[in-house]
């Protein structure tokens, strides 16, 4: 994508937790940009600050940045109504992310009510169809759904405002492998249909390799390196930490024959 324009531009983003005297930088001077229609990965181990970046972008945690521009709008100080329409987030644990005492339909109607979306009902049905949920589930509560169904509801809810950017925070790590495959496929389909841009946080290199074109590798709040997934997979990593991460994932993860083939 040579002609693509960046839709997410982040420069020198810093998030500090704790009070005076006992401060800890969870994210320390991070810069990256993501092109329209691209899937960009943020990979790292727990505590690397990858999820904190998503929360900083959405304003859920306080932060400082030299540049923070999403879909053309500067969001360092304020986020307008428009921001919440264009940017949505999908969380790791779909059970936690859904209101425990609202039915599926009410979960979908909530963003429509808050944002005053016209034709909410039609849009709700369209969103359900888009994520492949049956109408018979409309009046169930989250606890009456399977993990995969819950994540589909969460994605459908995110689609209600017709967003341009989805922030995906480990969207499949709480799901079974076979369900993960369904959700990843769904995300790919939605991207093809709607030209969505994904910023995806994950610890799973397999998922990154499957979903992303480019990825940033994070450690202790810092981006160690940003590289294409082809390079990541085929030994193009330049940093010691990235290599260690790949080696560890392969040692007890990857299909051995598959890995052997790739090396040959």
């Amino acid at each position: 994508m040579n002609t693509a324009t960046p839709i997410i531009e982040i420069e020198d983003l810093t998030v500090t937790f704790g009070v005076d005297g006992d401060e800890r930088r969870a994210v320390d001077g991070v810069s990256f940009s993501v092109n329209r229609g691209e899937t960009f990965g943020l990979v790292g181990e727990s505590g690397s600050g990858k999820s904190t970046i998503l929360r900083a972008i959405t304003g859920l945690v306080a932060n400082e940045a030299k540049v923070m521009r999403l879909a053309g709008a500067d969001i360092r100080k304020t986020r307008g109504k428009d921001f919440y329409r264009k940017v949505q987030m999908v969380f790791q644990d779909p059970y936690e992310a859904l209101h425990p005492r609202h039915t599926v339909w009410r979960q979908l109607m909530e963003p429509a009510r808050i944002q005053n979306i016209q034709g909410a009902e039609a849009r709700g049905h369209a969103a359900l169809d888009a994520v492949g949920l049956s109408r018979s589930l409309l009046w169930r509560y989250p606890h009456q759904l399977s993990g995969g169904q819950r994540q589909r509801v969460a994605i459908a809810r995110a689609l209600m405002s017709d967003p341009e950017i989805l922030l995906l925070d480990e969207p499949t790590s709480a799901l079974d492998v076979s369900v993960q495959a369904e959700i990843l496929n769904l995300l790919c389909d939605l991207q093809d249909e709607r030209g969505l841009t994904y910023l995806m946080v994950t610890h799973d290199l397999g998922v990154v390799a499957h979903m992303c074109k480019r990825t940033a590798v994070m450690q202790a709040g810092v981006i160690v390196e940003t590289l294409g997934v082809d390079a990541l997979v085929h030994g193009g990593a330049t940093q010691e930490y990235t290599r260690k991460l790949i080696a560890a994932s392969e040692a007890y993860g990857e299909d051995p024959h598959d890995a052997a083939q790739a090396r040959a």
Partner: protein, 302 residues
């Protein structure tokens, strides 16, 4: 089980409800079936329903007037004519207890109606917004909490003048702080949950989040807490009555009746014991219902 009721049960437990109302009714049904599986809770509920029934139909249930004195029949032990005996003015104790149920019930109802909203609003605002608002609201709450509730109620009644309405207001003033603290703790933990974050990302205002999302989720634990506090409320009301600062004679308030009975404790035990037992059973019933409700409303059961 008839086919109709079987059909209803199936409708209430089907996995595919077909309207919002259907889903709500199913939810109520689930809470009820969990509640019903607790025999002690059901027993408590029966006592409370009985109390409500008596309070409504007392003019037809009570054998005598609660105020009518009969000085020829004072301090009679329980017998065929007066099932629970008579007091020092010859009034029928059973009738007085039955009429007293109205007073007890109205205390309970009015206190809940005052306490629940105040506690919920103060707690949710303090918990969700945090910062200086939290500091101010919680210091005020702690001010109220730092006195034993009966002492505080005594002070209020002494200042406002001894009568039943003032007693109810005084009790309400002492009962909201624990509810506020509870709602604040719940709000604090809800504030950082993902489903609240999700609503924030829809662009919802903080006020909308507190009213439409935080407060409704706090309501079940507030209901449980208030139900459990009912026993305390009844006892405080009885205590104020006992000390002569609640309902005034000749009103048949149970606490006040115990207070009069104290004078005849040794030779006419029934005068104090009968209303005392009523207080015991009703507060026990509220406690049992509260316990059962706590289990039934706990979403972790699902």
């Amino acid at each position: 089980m008839s086919t109709a009721s079987k059909g209803l049960t199936a409708w209430l437990t089907t996995e595919e409800p077909n309207s919002a109302r259907h889903a709500t009714l199913q939810n109520i049904w689930r809470v009820w079936s969990r509640f019903a599986s607790n025999p002690l809770g059901v027993a408590g509920l029966v006592i409370i329903l009985l109390l409500v029934f008596v309070a409504v139909f007392v003019p037809w249930l009570a054998p005598y007037s609660p105020f009518e004195q009969n000085l020829r029949e004072t301090l009679m032990a329980p017998n065929g004519q007066h099932l629970l005996g008579t007091d020092e003015l010859g009034r029928d104790i059973l009738s007085r207890i039955l009429w007293g149920s109205r007073i007890t019930l109205s205390i309970v109802a009015i206190v809940s109606v005052i306490v629940a909203p105040i506690g919920l609003i103060v707690g949710c605002l303090a918990g969700y917004y945090g910062g200086w608002l939290d500091t101010i609201l919680m210091r005020v709450t702690e001010l109220f909490l730092s006195f034993p509730s009966l002492i505080l109620a005594l002070a209020f009644v002494a200042a406002l003048g001894p009568n039943l309405n003032n007693a109810i207001i005084a009790i309400a003033l002492t009962q909201w702080p624990p509810i506020a603290r509870l709602a604040r703790a719940e709000s604090l933990s809800l504030r950082n949950r993902d489903h609240i974050s999700a609503v924030r990302l829809m662009g919802a205002s903080s006020l909308h989040i507190v009213i439409a999302h935080i407060a409704p989720l706090c309501i079940p634990s507030v209901i449980v807490r208030i139900t459990l506090n009912m026993a305390g409320i009844i006892l405080t009301a009885a205590g104020l009555g006992f000390l002569g600062l609640g309902a005034q004679p000749p009103s048949p308030e149970w606490g006040a009746m115990v207070s009069t009975g104290r004078r005849f404790m040794l030779d006419s035990w029934w005068v104090g014991t009968m209303p005392g037992l009523s207080i015991l059973f009703v507060s026990l019933a509220f406690n049992l219902v509260g316990d059962a409700l706590r289990d039934a409303l706990d979403p972790r059961q699902e």
